[in-house]
């Protein structure tokens, strides 16, 4: 605590010295800087960019952790990274990739794209949107601070008790996990509410639910899943925090607690979470495949039905993560059948994608390349998904590398590849610049080949007796060979990711000259300039059909506006979300270091800012019609 204050004060002095003292000019300078702009922004496009960039940063961190794991496993008996250090790396790899990489990348795309796709000027709750981002961000930073202050969590991303209790994980590691995830979780829940309300209430006139683009549909279902799944994690983390910090006995079997409760709570959240990260990828696939096949999405209605059904079933299958816990054959059978059922709507989606391409004119631009790579990869993940759904067979697969292979096929082969497709597809819309096609191929081919090299052999590693989360394995030629192949594959994925990073850097060096509709798109976001103006739509469009933008391009008629040109109300920027999240961060750090005063102080600060916000009279500002046309003229000139 004392060191913290000293460091803070020292930093403040340093800032003062470097900036020539605290004065009005400095304040103005700060207020006009890009950093301040992004800290206070409530614009969904900027928040989307923040999410996306943070997601990429964490993706790289998680990737480095994966690299360390694969280096350790290159030979049996390797002592590069063993014991507790290895457990820390594997825990942080899983936690980072799921919560801090996949989720923000998804939220990034959702934030940028969804309001544009439904023809809205903003999201329903711009303030909440910013708060959601900053909470996520500070939670993620808090979690990763564990590396420097006391050691990272080491009980696996599932953090099963009793390993995660004080007695068996005495350091602060698991506290970082509990509080870091709790803070990001609150942010996530806010974002979910925000997206759901935006989609339900703020669609452009005439855009009925069955005229919504597929990505918007998957966002809606994802939000619903988050809404019902996150609280289970919140409760789980709360109980674990009580056990660790305040001596409660939820998971202490000697005091009547139960380890199975943690597993239930975790997987009631955890299984929907899996669909939360894959659904948006489904949405991206639908958009990309239909655009680059120049065809309407095949079986749109059944696609919507399938997404809703997957979301619904996603809540009734969590026990399939717990077949070996010993809940009995009745429970195992019921959940097995429920799980197998999910294969049906998933199959519907795959066939619909295939038949969207059937008869189309397939243009293999980078987004389409990733989309096409997604299909067989994800189908394989789905197939092994059915296989692990069968309890007797799962007794062999459970907690082995077979399962590791399975979920990497869905998470990397599904989510990550889907997100790459989405990134290349919407990059022009986000930044007004296209990513380079040639570098895109350098991204795609090494990545997908490396991916299969890494994860395909892991199926067999599992069947040949290698449990997951181990830092060594029996010195047997087959295990060794497969592990070496697996590690070699990582090189491919690394090259691909580096190409992507290079591509991003290159794109920012070029002029922002992307056209409004670079891909001959079908949905509304392509009807407005890239990047869109702050208010998105000068006049809200009137929607008469699915793929309205495509239809108006075909018929040569502009999309009709649904309102006359008028002044546009915009929310004003605010630094309160940042401040609230900072308060949460302080509170979290306080509880982790057992500085309860600091923990309480942070919480109080949070609520005070919340009340300040409630009293603040924020009328926002208005953009006048003549300003709008001015902008338009400028863009044309």
């Amino acid at each position: 605590m004392g060191t913290l204050i000293i460091v803070t004060v020292a930093l403040l002095f340093l800032t003062a010295i470097l900036t020539g003292g605290y004065n009005q000019r400095f304040l103005d300078q700060v207020k006009n800087s890009v950093v301040w702009d992004y800290i206070t922004t409530v614009d969904h496009k900027k928040i989307g960019i923040l999410y996306f960039i943070s997601g990429l940063v964490f993706f790289v961190i998680g990737g480095i952790e994966a690299l360390l794991i694969r280096i350790q496993l290159v030979a049996p008996g390797n002592d590069f990274l063993i014991g507790d250090a290895y457990n820390q790396v594997l825990t942080m790899h899983g936690t980072t990739m799921i919560f801090l990489a996949a989720m923000p990348l998804i939220f990034g795309l959702m934030n940028v794209v969804v309001p544009l796709q439904i023809g809205a000027r903003d999201v329903a709750f711009p303030f909440l949107n910013a708060l959601g981002y900053w909470l996520f961000s500070f939670g993620g930073i808090l979690l990763n601070l564990s590396w420097f202050f006391g050691g990272a969590p080491d009980a696996g991303w599932t953090s099963y008790t009793s390993l995660a209790l004080n007695e068996f994980s005495p350091g602060p590691g698991v506290d970082y996990y509990v509080l870091g995830l709790q803070i990001t979780g609150i942010g996530t829940l806010m974002s979910a509410v925000n997206f759901a309300v935006t989609i339900i209430n703020m669609r452009a006139p005439g855009m009925t639910f069955l005229r919504m683009p597929m990505f918007t549909w998957t966002t809606l279902v994802t939000s619903a899943l988050l809404l019902f799944a996150m609280p289970a994690l919140t409760v789980g983390l709360l109980l674990l925090m009580f056990d660790r910090l305040f001596g409660a006995n939820f998971f202490d079997h000697a005091m009547g607690g139960s380890h199975v409760i943690w597993q239930h709570l975790f997987w009631i959240f955890g299984h929907p979470e899996v669909y939360i990260v894959i659904m948006p990828a489904f949405g991206i696939m639908s958009e990309v495949i239909s655009t680059f096949s120049k065809k309407r999405l095949f079986g749109y209605n059944s696609m919507v039905f399938a997404v809703a059904l997957i979301g619904f079933l996603g809540f009734m299958v969590w026990v399939h993560h717990m077949y070996t816990v010993g809940l009995g054959p009745v429970s195992n059978s019921v959940f097995a059948i429920a799980t197998m059922t999910i294969a049906v709507p998933t199959g519907i989606k795959v066939f619909n994608w295939l038949f969207t391409m059937w008869g189309g004119e397939l243009d293999f631009k980078t987004p389409m390349l990733f989309a096409v790579g997604f299909i067989p990869t994800f189908v394989m993940g789905g197939m092994t998904g059915v296989m692990v759904a069968l309890p007797p067979a799962d007794f062999q697969y459970q907690d082995t590398y077979f399962v590791v292979a399975h979920f990497h096929y869905t998470m990397v082969g599904g989510t990550v590849i889907g997100l790459f497709a989405g990134a290349y597809y919407w990059w022009p819309k986000m930044f007004g610049r296209k990513l380079d096609e040639r570098l895109g191929k350098w991204h795609f081919w090494p990545f997908i080949i490396g991916f299969h090299l890494t994860f395909f052999p892991q199926h067999f590693l599992g069947l040949f007796g290698m449990p997951r989360r181990v830092f060594t394995y029996n010195d047997v030629p087959i295990l060794q060979t497969l592990n070496i192949i697996s590690t070699i594959g990582v090189i491919g994925m690394t090259i691909g990711t580096l190409a992507f990073m290079y591509n991003i850097i290159q794109s920012f060096r070029r002029k922002a000259d992307a056209p409004a509709d670079p891909w001959n798109g079908r949905t509304l976001e392509w009807a407005i300039p890239s990047p869109p103006p702050a208010y998105n739509f000068k006049q809200l469009p009137l929607i008469r059909a699915y793929d309205q933008f495509w239809i108006s391009k075909q018929t040569g008629k502009e999309i009709e506006p649904s309102e006359p040109l008028g002044e546009i109300h915009m929310p004003s920027p605010t630094y309160l979300p940042f401040l609230m999240s900072l308060a949460m961060f302080i509170s979290g750090f306080g509880f982790i270091t057992r500085g309860y005063e600091m923990g309480a102080l942070g919480l109080i600060l949070f609520f005070i800012v919340m009340f300040i916000r409630s009293y603040e009279h924020d009328p926002g500002y208005h953009i006048q019609p003549d300003e709008l046309t001015g902008v338009e003229k400028e863009a044309k000139a």
């Binding site: 709750f125 799944a229 009547g256």
Partner: protein, 202 residues
């Protein structure tokens, strides 16, 4: 938006898009809260037998006291309905009065709960004494924390209404806070049934 606000005098709270968003968003938030309490109740039901030699639910619970608390909270829900009625009739004083009564009743409930907790603790039933203790205090305590937050919130709104009057900004806030209050009430009904009644009878 402006013209809409003038025509829809009956429901000022949903006269603007912001108001509508707020109300729908809040309903969705309550859905999430429902899952939260469902998880806590489930945990409690799973662990309530694990008293580790400490007092059991039969030894502890005094239905009389809890019934009084329940009565207070149910009544406060009713008074919050009166507040919304006053809101619809744009009676600023009425809104303030009924919200005030709601806060007082909630406060009385909270005091009873604190008394109850102190009493249980003295009987050897504490947060750390057993899994039953942990789950009981966490469930009922989380509800209590929600009540406490509601008290601050509604008090804040009384001040806001007093300052700004009933506008299309304050109206959704008041409406949403009463939704929250009803929700807390419903959760309490479940707690009353599943914790106290079941603990005494079951």
């Amino acid at each position: 938006m402006e013209s809409q606000a003038e025509t829809a005098t009956e429901h000022l709270e949903s006269s603007t898009l912001e108001g509508k968003n707020k109300i729908l968003g809040f309903w969705l938030f309550l859905a999430a809260e429902t899952v939260l309490f469902a998880c806590l109740i489930g945990t409690y039901l799973a662990l309530r037998g694990q008293n580790m030699g400490g007092p059991t639910t039969q030894d502890l619970f005094d239905l009389g006291l809890v019934a009084v608390a329940t009565g207070l909270l149910l009544t406060s829900s009713l008074t919050s309905v009166f507040a919304v009625n006053a809101l619809n009739q744009k009676k600023q004083k009425g809104v303030q009065f009924w919200l005030g009564v709601t806060v007082l009743l909630g406060l009385a409930f909270l005091i009873l709960e604190i008394y109850e907790f102190v009493h249980y603790t003295s009987m050897g039933h504490t947060f750390v004494s057993s899994a039953f203790g942990s789950s009981f205090y966490t469930l009922v305590g989380t509800h209590g924390a929600h009540v406490t937050f509601g008290l601050f919130w509604i008090t804040g709104l009384i001040i806001q209404v007093a300052r700004r009057g009933i506008t299309k900004e304050t109206a959704p806030k008041v409406f949403v806070s009463t939704l929250y209050w009803h929700f807390i009430d419903v959760v309490w009904v479940f707690i009353f049934t599943l914790v106290y009644l079941l603990g005494k009878v079951g």
